[in-house]
Symmetry: C2
Subunit: 192 residues, 2 copies
């Protein structure tokens, strides 16, 4: 890995952490640079269009990382109930030790979406596209498990809202319990 790549990744990691701690608007470029430890010129070298570009690239990177995780988790079990429960369980696990903030390596998508919906259309769109990609992966798992198009659409949209709301409640309560709680509802939700 070249030092250029390392600086770029360090900046994206620092931005992701700061977005968790303070959100998009209140995070300054100088703070991101300081947190990353990257050389001063590297921020504008890698992200010439500034904070918006940086945030969109951080969202796209998280979209990719989480998509891979969703695919892997849902492929772990053939049975869709077991597969979704396993996936939601892995998300819940991240909240077990929430004070170890460094474990939050992906952007808080719901937070960025809520913060930018009225004031930054490019960021809002990046968030919307990411939610659509993830929901499609849920849909695909259901379709390959024999669910009808309508049923797979209804269930995947519901699971998308359940996970997003569960994550917000886990953060708010500093606990993994809300996601474990909704996980108990998966067998009923997926009943045919």
């Amino acid at each position: 890995m070249s030092s250029k790549e390392t600086s770029r990744e360090k900046i994206l990691e620092a931005a992701t952490l700061l977005f968790h701690l303070k959100g998009y608007h209140a995070t300054g470029l100088s703070e991101i640079l300081k947190e990353s430890g990257a050389p001063k010129g590297s921020l504008y070298y890698h992200f010439p269009n500034g904070k918006e570009q940086l945030a969109i690239e951080a969202i796209n990177l998280s979209a990719k990382t989480i998509s891979t995780a969703i695919k892997e988790n849902l492929a772990t079990y053939d049975d869709p109930v077991e597969a979704f429960q396993y996936h939601i369980g892995t998300i819940a696990e991240r909240f077990k030790d929430i004070e170890r903030k460094t474990q939050f390596k992906n952007v808080p998508l719901g937070l960025l979406a809520m913060e930018t919906v009225f004031v930054n259309e490019n960021l809002r769109q990046a968030c919307e596209e990411t939610f659509i990609i993830w929901e499609k992966l849920f849909y695909d798992k259901l379709r390959t498990s024999g669910y009808s198009e309508d049923r797979a659409c209804l269930i995947s949209g519901t699971i998308s809202a359940l996970i997003e709301g569960g994550v917000t409640l886990c953060f708010t309560k500093k606990s993994s319990e809300p996601l474990h709680h909704v996980n108990k509802m998966i067998p009923l939700l997926l009943s045919q």
Copy 2:
């Protein structure tokens, strides 16, 4: 209504709108004052402890307003399926014309919670308590409809996550569709 009460309310309304547009951290006291049109001295007169106090009072006011709406909505129908679908439908309606930002008269609780979880324990607690109050109202409706304690607990926690996630997706997509979508799942979720 005295002019003192009016100033106080105007400040809380302005803060609520700005929290929607920019979140907690990026909203400054001077902006709140400007948006409210209240006299300069009134901000520290009504909120001597500054932005945190203002945000907590805005959260408590929204908690009360929304609690009243939940009670009224759930009391509209005896049948719990109809009652919850009516309640979720009324939330969805707010997103029909999302660009009329003035319609968002309550604080974006999920956004404030996510923004403050790591950096402001008082605000986090105010958000957590509010979620607990709302969930309890769902639980009570289910209990009076004959659901067992365990089942009412499971369903009310799930509905809490579904609404919170649905609201985030409605904001992100600038559409009422995600909440209408999850609403179709209510009959199955509430099946005994």
